[in-house]
Subunit: 95 residues, 2 copies
């Protein structure tokens, strides 16, 4: 159906929108090598506020780019799309 195509495009647009912000990209970079808890990401990106990083992760999650997993007090995030990592690395080597 034509509507499927439109739904797909909108979903893709949402993915790209989630990636269109430098802070969210930095957060994503942190996850390229594997799962991290929020606190570890906060340590790596200390220049940003905790709330900012939390919001960034949630936006990435809503777009389906990362998934999360709760363990005690911590929440662990990791990439959930193979495509994304490849693309980021491809961009990286071409910019």
């Amino acid at each position: 159906m034509e509507n499927d195509r439109i739904r797909k495009i909108n979903k893709e647009a949402k993915i790209f929108k989630a990636l269109s912000n430098p802070v969210r990209l930095e957060v994503l970079y942190c996850l390229l090598d594997g799962e991290l808890c929020v606190c570890e990401i906060i340590q790596k990106l200390e220049k940003y506020e905790q709330a900012h990083i939390s919001k960034s992760l949630i936006k990435l999650k809503e777009a389906g780019i990362v998934k999360d997993r709760k363990e005690g007090l911590n929440v662990y995030y990791s990439l959930s799309m193979e495509c994304i990592k490849n693309f980021i690395l491809c961009l990286d080597s071409n910019l």
Copy 2:
């Protein structure tokens, strides 16, 4: 230098931002199979205004995603990054 990293991230964010809009994505889809002039894109996407499509192409161009080539009255646009097509196709098969 650390600044290089930041410049790179900002450039990537710009690329993602350019792709974060459904109309611009539809325009990009038109170009996946090769070069087209603006008038051909307008025909394919007749539901959108000419000005809207023109602006979309320019935004994609500013992000470095497409390049253009003038020939008489026409302007031909085409993809300028290999990564992008691969990523779009990968997304497409996973959504």
